[in-house]
Each structure stands twice: as C-alpha cells, then as structure tokens.
C-alpha cells in the first residue's frame, strides 16, 4: 500500500492537482513516525511511510494546511475521515484546499504493547502472517500480532470513509463495535469503585496537555485552561480536584463533537484511558437523544446544540441503579 500511495501522491503532485502531501515520515526506529508535509517526489521517495505502526491522525494539521496556498493531498484512514468531516462542519478546514485519499485503516500496532511484553531495544517490527517478528539489539523476538493491536483499533467503530475524493483499497462498513464495553463495566460498578478507578487513573495525569493538543476536536484559538481570564486556567493540577476539573471540562467541551478517534489515549504518556470519558458522553448521547456519530456528516445538528421538547430529565441519572 505504501508504494501505491507514494506513486499516487507523485502523480497528483506532477499533474498539479496538489502542491503538497500530508503524510508520515520515517524515524530512527521502526515506530517513531512523525506526521509530515512533503513538497516533492524526492522527499516522498525518501521518507514517506505508511505501515502497521503508522497511527497518527493527521486531520488536525489540515486546519492550518488548508489555509495555505495551493491544495494539499491528505491520506486519511476511515477514523481520520470522521475527524476531518467534523472539522469541515465546524468551519475549521477549508474543504476545497484538501484532496482526500481514503486509505484502509488498521488494525495498527502500538509499540507500547510490544514494550509492555518486556521486549526492549526494538529496531524493526515486521508482520509475518499475523506474527510480529521484532528485531532488537538483544536478538529477534516474536509475538502474536493481535496482542500488539493499538487500543484505538481494538474497538474500531468504522472501516467506512465518510469523506474522500478518491479511495485506495476497498471501502469497508460501519462496524458493530464493542467500544462501550468498558464504559458499561464501569457503570455497573458502585460509585465508590468508580471513584477509586478514576482517582487511580487521573492521579497519574501530569497535565502535559498532549491529549488536548492532539485532539482534533480541541481546536480553540485559546483554550480556557490557558486563559487566565477564564478563572480556571491551570498549568498543573495542584490538587486532585484540578485533575478532575481539567478532564471533565475537556470531555464536556468535546461532547457531541468527539468522533472517538482515540488519539487522546494513544498519546497519553501516562496511559490514562481518557477516551472512556468521551465514550461515556457518546454512549449517553446515543441512549438519551438518539444515535449520533460526530463527523459522520457535515450538516446535522450536534446533540448539545439541539433539543427536543420531550427530552429526558436529569433525574434519569439519579434513577439509575444503586449507588
């Protein structure tokens, strides 16, 4: 696929359809892949990469890129197209300036999962018939492919591209995913158990803002948490409350806008399952106000800027099972 992508990108550069290509660039090892903009065929030949370890969602970069001169080619995985569409809806990306090629999605491999097996000194990772062959400085290691699947791909919601100018590979379907299982598991716990779970997770937060800054829904010119005039700006969580505050407000601000791309949890250096907060909102919205998938289209009214006269009362929360 990578070769075909480079070939197609070079064609589109050559015929003037686009003047730049948004993709990913090889790193020092197998896994340290960086989103990058390529201007020439030579650069593409040299550095372009799109393999099992290429996870980053590049939609957010297109906010800026689509405002530059000329048109940019962007390779988007199915999940990335949802983010892209949502950004179109919010008038953040200028659609005409992006040429979208839909590429097949995952499952992608997360190197963290390989490292968690105690494998270190990783030089290269190859998928040989669903067995990963990992070259390390200490020799060759193997592990089953499925044990290294990235968290965001484990509960993939859709293999369908919701927006593209052309497709490479076959189009997939919206999947019946198990993505709410963990949310449900938490819902079925007692309040004390939930409290303990989240305290354990959120207390790890170092407020590096990686989740926020990578999030394609967090596109404010100035975040409330960076703006001293907001009264809640913080540079660090000086108390457990502030850890809660940051993550609750962030989840609330992206509620109805989060496409569940999973980048927040992927980039968290402390492995906090932040996507569960967003998924909780998605699950609530689906069950209380009707199925809604942010980014599935560019016209529908978002659940929090919409209402029905007979919406449920907040007492639905209070009437749930015992605390």
């Amino acid at each position: 696929m990578q070769e075909a992508m480079i070939k197609r990108a070079k064609e589109l550069l050559a015929d003037g359809t686009v003047n730049r290509v948004m993709g990913w660039k090889k790193g020092e090892f197998a896994y340290d892949i960086t989103p990058a903009v390529f201007d020439t065929a030579e650069e593409l030949e040299q550095d372009f990469v799109c393999d099992d370890l290429t996870q980053a969602n590049v939609s957010k970069y297109l906010i800026k890129e689509s405002r530059k001169e000329g048109r940019i080619l962007a390779f988007l995985k199915p999940c990335d197209t949802y983010s892209f569409n949502q950004l179109i809806k919010e008038h953040r990306i200028i659609r005409e300036n992006v040429y979208v090629i839909g590429i097949p999605g995952g499952p992608k491999i997360d190197v963290e999962k390989i490292k968690a097996k105690g494998i270190t000194g990783i030089l290269s990772v190859k998928n040989e018939d669903y067995t990963l062959k990992i070259e390390t400085i200490y020799g060759t290691e193997t592990m089953p492919f499925y044990e290294a699947i990235s968290g965001k791909c484990e509960s993939c919601k859709s293999k369908k591209h919701v927006v593209y100018d052309e497709l490479m590979g076959e189009e997939g379907d919206v999947l019946d995913s198990n993505r709410f299982d963990m949310v449900e598991k938490l819902e079925n716990m007692t309040a004390q158990e939930r409290y303990d779970f989240w305290r354990g997770e959120l207390s790890k937060c170092i407020r590096c803002n990686a989740c926020r800054n990578v999030c394609p829904a967090c596109t404010c010119e100035s975040c409330v948490f960076d703006n001293p005039a907001s009264g809640i700006s913080q540079k660090a969580a000086a108390d457990s409350f502030e850890e809660n505050m940051f993550h609750i407000i962030r989840a609330f601000h992206v509620a109805g806008r989060c496409t569940d791309c999973g980048e927040c949890s992927r980039v968290c250096p402390q492995n906090i399952p932040l996507h569960l907060l967003n998924r909780k909102f998605i699950k609530d919205i689906n069950s209380l106000y009707g199925e809604y998938q942010a980014g599935a289209d560019t016209t529908s009214r978002a659940p929090l800027t919409d209402y029905k006269a007979d919406d449920c009362e907040p007492s639905v929360v209070h009437e749930r099972g015992a605390e």
């Binding site: 309040a191 004390q192 108390d239 409350f241 505050m245 609750i248 609530d284 029905k308 919406d311 929360v317």
Partner: protein
C-alpha cells in the same frame, strides 16, 4: 446511613431570573421556610449555568449544587432550558460516572408561581445533602476550612 446533625452543608442554587428566582421570591413573600444553607445566584436563564460554575462551587467548598429554571416550554428565551436540560443531564451523568455522589447535584423546574415548590425542593435537597455528608470526592483540599 448516619446523619450528622451538626453538619451544615453549603448549597449553591442557580436560579433563572424569570421563573425560579421569582419563585424563590414568592416563597419568601409567602414566608415559606427553607434552610439558610441555600444561597441563590441569579442568572438570566438556566442555560447561563456553565458546568465550570458547578465544578467551581464544589471546588470552593459547596456540598451540593442545584439549578432551577423555567419549566420546559416556558423558557423566557424560548429554548434556553432545553439546552440546560441536555447539558446538565450529561454533566451529572459524567459526575456519576466518576463516582461523585449523584445526589449532590440536582436540576429542578420551578415557575414564578411555585413558591411552595421552591421551598419544598430546597428542603428536600438540603436533607439529601445532609445525608451525604461533606463533599469529599470533588473538593479541593486547599479550600477546606481549617
């Protein structure tokens, strides 16, 4: 559950100007008693209540937060309370998800004519929060009174 009678919870009530604040006034005019723990903040519409305000109240030492607005369909601004209802439902659900006691938060519709309801709601909410005891799960320790 053990009820600590000495515990005097701090209750913040956000009331919309057109219905609930007037309802609160009416409950005063009719001399209907409710505990002094309840302190009202006047907002133009319940939809002015930002989730940040609710969290801020808990941070700074509130033990319960209640939002009151016009009945659905009666909003002075036509649709404000409908947005409130969605936002607050989701927020309360999230707080519950994080294990924060769900009875510390409430949303009630109180019209300008419902002075008696206002007093009844406040009485029951204060009782509820008293049963729960001080807010510990969503407090900022730095703000705890020495």
């Amino acid at each position: 559950m053990q009820v600590n009678n000495d515990f005097q919870p701090v209750i913040v009530a956000f009331c919309c100007n057109w219905c609930s604040y007037a309802g609160a006034d009416l409950s005063g005019t009719n001399r209907l008693n409710y505990p002094a723990n309840v302190k009202i903040i006047r907002v133009p519409c319940s939809c002015r209540v930002n989730p940040m305000f609710i969290l801020r109240a808990f941070q700074k030492g509130a033990d319960g937060v209640i939002i009151c607005g016009c009945h659905p369909g009666d909003c002075h601004y036509t649709s404000g309370n409908y947005y409130t209802r969605r936002r607050i439902t989701l927020l309360y659900s999230m707080l519950d998800f994080l294990g924060i006691e769900r009875n510390r938060t409430r949303l009630e519709w109180v019209s300008a004519a419902e002075g008696a309801k206002f007093a009844a709601v406040m009485n029951s909410f204060v009782d509820e929060v008293k049963k729960l005891g001080p807010n510990r799960r969503l407090e900022d320790l730095r703000c705890r009174k020495q």
